[in-house]
Amino acid sequence: MSGHRQPLLMLAVAAVGVALPFVIPDYRAQIAMLWALVIMAQTWDITGGQTGYNSFGNILFFGVGMYASVVVQRDVGLDFFPGLVLGMVVGAGIAAALAVLLGSMILRMRGHYFAIATLGLGIAAGEIAGGWDYLGAGSGLSPPLFPAPPGTANLFFAYLYFGVAALVFVALAALYRTRFGLALNAIRDNEDKAEAMGLHTGVYKVTAWTMAAFVLGLVGGAMGNMLGFVDPRDTAFAGATFGVWMVLMAILGGKGTLWGPVLGAVIFHITQELLWTHLLGWQRVALGVIIVGIVVFFPQGILGWARTRWPARHEHQGHGSERA
């Protein structure tokens, strides 16, 4: 889409985001989850789509944020909201620090090697958390109950996640227009050439991953409270669900685009909710069929497909935010 239409579209989405919890108040829990999934897809795309580094380990940062937040709430002795905010920030900080540390090591690997290295991260973290008594080990942790009338928790989380998703979107839109964004794309398109041109690719890659980690730490930090129970493998380091979904949603919508992950998350979430209701016990099979269908028929994602289908509309790229 061309540059001058972008703000209009963003405004429209923002209006939907603000109104939605009141238009369909019974669906606040799903709306909150929807925006959380949008953020997961957006952050995955920073490295996966824009930089060309497919990470299967971003769930690590999500889980770290979740645990850190609930532990802070448990041990620091603050009231609910200050505790939650502090916990989210601490969680995001730890996640970012981990990204710097791990990133400076494994982001030197390329292609499949990087992907496989990241695959182990979430699994290892789940095992560690599952054996660590301070974190409740296999019994998990229960966050404090939300201190407000029923239903308000979902409203709170719906707006919290919407706010974060909107901020992340605006920040990424701005970021992808800068030299930094171009550098990420350059790494994706040809890393050796980028390096030969004098880009410190390592710094760019680690920075990109750290940004994703920070935001995912925030998301995880709030998610522990939203779900009400922290389990090492099934909610925190849930590689088989959230971990895979964030990749899937970005690919579904169109990776390496600004709107793709958002679109992918919306479609994925709605599809999943519908399958859940109408195909008791078979919802995963149906989802699997849909995933195969997407990979076969829309390998470039929906936006990628649209671009091939109607190339004229995509001729004049206003900026570097979209895949060439």
């Binding site: 998990g140 009400g228 389990d231 669900t241 008791l280």
Partner: protein
């Protein structure tokens, strides 16, 4: 392009609104009372989740066939709205929200497993929705001050306590100091099994029994050869294994395969794993913690005696009811009783009626303490003898003497 997007977003919003339009306040519709339940139809708890669902279904069907429940002079039928929680707590919590908000359910039946119950209880608590659960035994569920949570089953610390006590008793009878006994344990790393572990360790300490192996089993639970190799080396007097149905099947299978000689093997979930059917003679002598047995002398108006329940269940589903099914049925009976006593469907009235429950069901006596756990029903300990589950402890219910020690494999 903008147009395209507007259409996409518009249809997404429309999709959600259509979902919303289908939303019915379903708590009591006409003469039907809806109960909500998230159960594990897929994922690692599939087997036990199915027993849970069948237990609920059988009780609902039996109550409805007998004319339903009478509340405030009107008769009502029960119906359960199910979702599949996929054996993960994240799903469970979301589905509880969905049942309460979108489906308008005011009363919940529990999911399968302590982990799922831990995830769902905060949600039901928040909305003041009474939940009667039958498959969340972790003691940690009952120290959170929940007011709307009621559990018909015995809590985890009691599961294998009778096995440890039995071992100590046998040792004393044989003129041996229980403190000389050695215990080996392997427990899945999940909320339920870790609670079982805490109970077993505490009981071992009580008798001064030495814990020589204390292993964690991964949730994938495909192999416990490492633990069993150690067991062969240190020769404990008791081997305790807990890991839901998969853990039970694994323990019995690998103890046989590796020819591990241990005088006493005590596990949980034998009947839901159908270890007799799967392993036959190899399962002999195994001790199994059970919430319930068809030979117990409890009865109620819905199913009759425990044996009658077993017969009804078997006629319906073609296999003997594991206790997970029995306790799930009991949860429905408890709800039905509370509705009738509350005389209406107010959430708090029903909650108070549940708190005041004092009844006998085919599954056992039900009386909740202030934390919501049932304190009126003991656990029983089965032993597999000649291809059947026989109650061997506690003494009051014992149908037969325990066969001890288990002979070595070379003599079996």
């Amino acid at each position: 392009m903008l147009k395209g997007w507007a259409v996409a977003i518009g249809s997404a919003a429309l999709g959600l609104s259509i979902l919303a339009a289908g939303d019915a306040q379903a708590k009591v519709e006409g003469d039907t009372v809806y109960l909500g339940a998230a159960v594990s139809l897929t994922g690692k708890y599939t087997t036990a989740g199915e027993h849970t669902q069948r237990g609920y279904d059988l009780a609902v069907k039996t109550i409805n066939d007998a004319g339903g429940i009478t509340v405030g002079g009107n008769t009502y039928r029960l119906e359960v709205i199910y979702y599949d929680d996929e054996s993960t707590p994240a799903r469970g919590a979301q589905l509880a929200e969905r049942l309460i908000n979108q489906d308008g359910v005011d009363f919940m039946l529990g999911p399968y497993s302590s982990g799922l119950t831990k995830a769902i209880a905060p949600v039901t608590e928040q909305y003041g929705v009474p939940m009667v659960e039958a498959n969340g035994a972790s003691l940690q569920l009952f120290n959170k001050g929940y007011r709307y949570l009621f559990a018909v089953l015995s809590t985890t610390e009691q599961y294998l306590a009778s096995a440890v006590a039995l071992a100590a008793e046998i040792a004393e009878r044989e003129g041996r100091d229980p403190a000389t006994l050695k215990l080996a344990g392997a427990f899945e790393n999940d909320p339920f099994s870790q609670d079982i572990r805490a109970g077993v360790i505490a009981d071992a300490e009580k008798f001064g029994i030495q814990v020589v192996i204390d292993d964690q089993l991964p949730p994938e639970l495909n192999d416990m050869a490492a633990t069993l190799a150690k067991t062969k080396a240190v020769k404990p007097d008791i081997l305790v294994v807990s890991g839901h149905s998969k853990g039970a099947a694994l323990a019995v299978r690998q103890v046989e395969e590796m020819r591990v000689d241990v005088p006493m093997l005590a596990i949980t979930h034998c009947d839901s794993a159908d270890v007799i059917g799967k392993f036959g003679a190899a399962s002999e002598y195994t001790l199994c913690a059970s919430q319930w047995a068809p030979t117990l002398s409890y009865q109620d108006d819905v199913f009759g005696s425990a044996a009658d329940y077993a017969a009804t269940f078997e006629a319906e589903y073609g296999y003997a009811p594991p206790y997970q099914a029995a306790e799930s049925s009991a949860a429905v009976i408890v709800f039905a009783d509370a509705f009738e006593r509350a005389g209406g469907f107010g959430k708090d009235a029903v909650r108070d009626a549940l708190a005041a429950t004092e009844m006998q069901t085919f599954y056992g006596n039900i009386r909740f303490d202030e934390t919501g756990k049932n304190i009126a029903k003991p656990m029983v300990l089965y032993q597999i003898q000649d291809g059947a589950y026989v109650v061997v402890a506690p003494t009051k219910w014992a149908a037969s003497e325990v066969r001890h020690p288990t002979p070595p494999w070379s003599e079996r």
